[in-house]
């Protein structure tokens, strides 16, 4: 067991920003807009660092796929306690079309290259809400997956996991190596401290290209149009149940 954990971190538009659609409806405005690490990725980093502090794993490697600015996101992970970073350089049109399938291929290739024991990801990104990367990565590697994790504990070469699912909480035990995706209540991410930010300066970030990993990032999807959601219409109140049924029938709902 290498004791190495890969943590995927994605640079997304900050959760507090009001999103605007571009006038040409090809996407949302990203220029000049505040970006930060995806909140679920922060939770994943925190969990990895906690595991290292408990001495259950030896090394935390932060990975991000994107343009030059993705290195800022890796630096935040380093400031939180990750040991080193890998920046997979994807920019321009390739970056605009980058989706879970390509990212999971990249992560699978890196997991093999780095001999990772565990991959920790956020359950989904707040920009596309795909909730696919973790699952696809596990499938490509033929590894077990523990998604929507709200509790993780390592027991020898197995992992005990509590998953938050629609029906409640599911307790599972999976083998390693495995992919885990973090849900909201897994932990509360720490603030980076000033001394840790300064220590992070000395940590290395290596840049690689998808081609170096043998991954083709051409997308099979094409975004045709991005629109704002329809404006919410006012509802109406009715006096009696009969009126309600009449209105529903008129609207074709019943």
């Amino acid at each position: 067991m290498s004791g190495r954990v890969l943590v995927g971190v994605k640079r997304v538009i900050d959760y507090a920003v009001k999103i605007r659609v571009k006038p040409d409806n090809t996407g949302v405005v990203t220029d000049g807009v505040k970006h930060s690490m995806n909140p679920f990725c922060e939770i994943a980093v925190e969990e990895a660092v906690k595991l290292k502090e408990k001495k259950l794993i030896k090394e935390v490697v932060a990975v991000s796929c994107g343009p030059q600015q993705s290195q800022e996101t890796i630096r935040t992970a380093l400031a939180m306690g990750a040991d080193r970073g890998i920046h997979v350089d994807v920019s321009g049109k390739d970056y605009e079309n980058l989706g879970p399938l390509q990212v999971s291929k990249i992560l699978a290739a890196l997991a093999k290259q780095e001999d990772a024991q565990l991959i920790l990801l956020g359950k989904q990104a707040i920009d596309d809400d795909c909730n696919q990367t973790g699952q696809m990565t596990a499938a490509l590697l033929d590894w077990p997956q523990g998604t929507f994790a709200s509790e993780v504990s390592l027991e020898g070469d197995k992992i005990n996991l509590v998953r938050e699912i629609d029906g409640g909480l599911e307790h599972i035990k999976i083998n390693t190596p495995a992919v885990i995706t973090a849900d909201l209540r897994l932990n509360t991410p720490r603030y980076a401290t000033l001394p840790n930010i300064m220590k992070a300066k000395k940590k290395k970030i290596v840049t690689v290209k998808p081609a170096d990993l043998g991954v083709d990032v051409t997308s099979r999807l094409e975004v045709l149009k991005v629109e704002e959601p329809p404006q919410r219409q006012a509802g109406m109140k009715v006096e009696t149940v009969e009126d309600l049924v009449v209105k529903l029938k008129e609207a074709g709902r019943v």
Binding site: A16, K18, R20, V21, K22, P23, V29, D31, G32, V33, K34, S36, Q71, E72, R75, T76, A79, Y191, A192, T193, L194, P195, I197, M198, A200, K201, E228
Partner: protein, 319 residues
């Protein structure tokens, strides 16, 4: 209409100083105010990280409580200690005594960001930092080791005591006297408008050990609980209520000579050097407050509708 006019002027100012122009969807005629000042422009990667932590701390730990702190006049000790755990207690104090060892520019960036959460508290934190720095820079080994670690962790809080009822702008004419008696100085006099006064533990006091003028002034560190040290009533202020302001009164207050920073007669020099940094810190706090205010105004413009349109669409035509 006057209110709309004023807000429109703020919006136009905002879009003029915006480095990135963003157009509101569907309306390419109007100047966009959807993006605003990006405070991380021109910073190094490391400075961006410092700023990010400070912004996050301000938004999560300070802003939600700011109004309550002001209304109830709460000195937020626990929150400030949390800030100290991140390294904000002695930002430009040297690491060997618990400080973060950063530059003045780094410090300014941090205070500007923290201020977006609560100006009053951040201003106090900056005063605390100034005092810690003075002891760090001008204290001897024993003084640095005795006071700085606790100040950097905010186990103890500090106040800067220069101003007196009779000397504000003319600080060098201060009257608080410190008479040498054996291995103590006996202090008599009072300081006015001391931020944190009464609630803080360590007082950096400029007092007269010699003759008139700046060369007769020395700097002593006085600890709370020293007999003869007392405080006036808490001043009633309009705003900035998260830090208490009181007079600090010395009545035959005996302070060990070992608590003197540097030599006799150097106190005024130290005081001014402290303020050189303090001035930048306070200005940074004001910038942070302005930043937060412009953002709030911008958000309001995008949401508030009058005369059938959002205020942002009601901008005066460019003449």
């Amino acid at each position: 209409m006057a209110a709309v006019g004023a807000l429109s002027r703020i919006a136009r100012l905002g879009s003029r100083i915006c480095k990135n122009r963003v157009t509101l969807s569907g309306n390419s005629q109007r100047r966009g105010i959807a993006a605003c000042i990006d405070p991380s422009h021109g910073l190094t990667d490391e400075q961006k990280e410092f700023q990010k932590v400070a912004f996050d701390f301000a938004a999560n730990e300070m802003a939600p409580h700011m109004a309550e702190w002001d209304q109830k006049e709460i000195f937020p000790v626990e929150t400030m200690r949390k800030a100290a755990q991140l390294g904000f207690g002695g930002i430009y104090v040297q690491p060997d005594v618990g400080g973060s060892g950063l530059s003045r520019l780094d410090t300014s960036i941090i205070f500007e960001a923290l201020s977006t959460g609560c100006v009053s508290t951040t201003a106090y934190i900056s005063i605390h930092n100034m005092c810690a720095w003075m002891i760090d820079s001008y204290g001897n080994k024993e003084q640095r080791e005795k006071f700085c670690p606790d100040l950097c962790s905010m186990e103890k809080f500090a106040s800067y005591c220069l101003t007196e009822p009779g000397s504000g702008s003319d600080a060098a004419s201060l009257l608080t006297s410190a008479q040498r008696k054996g291995d103590h100085y006996v202090l008599n006099g009072s300081k006015a408008f001391i931020s944190g006064g009464g609630d803080t533990d360590v007082y950096v006091v400029m007092c007269r050990t010699g003759g008139k003028g700046p060369k007769g002034i020395s700097c002593l560190v006085v600890e709370k609980g020293t007999p003869g040290l007392s405080f006036g009533k808490k001043e009633k202020k309009v705003g900035w209520n998260s830090q208490p302001t009181r007079a600090v009164i010395f009545e035959d207050c005996a302070v060990p000579v070992a608590n003197r920073l540097g030599e006799e007669g150097q106190g005024f020099n130290f005081a001014m050097k402290g303020l050189n940094g303090g001035r930048i810190n306070i200005a940074s706090c004001s910038l942070g407050a302005a930043h937060a205010s412009v953002q709030l105004a911008r958000d309001h413009l995008l949401v508030r509708k009058q005369f059938g349109e959002t205020l942002s669409n009601n901008q005066e035509p460019m003449k």
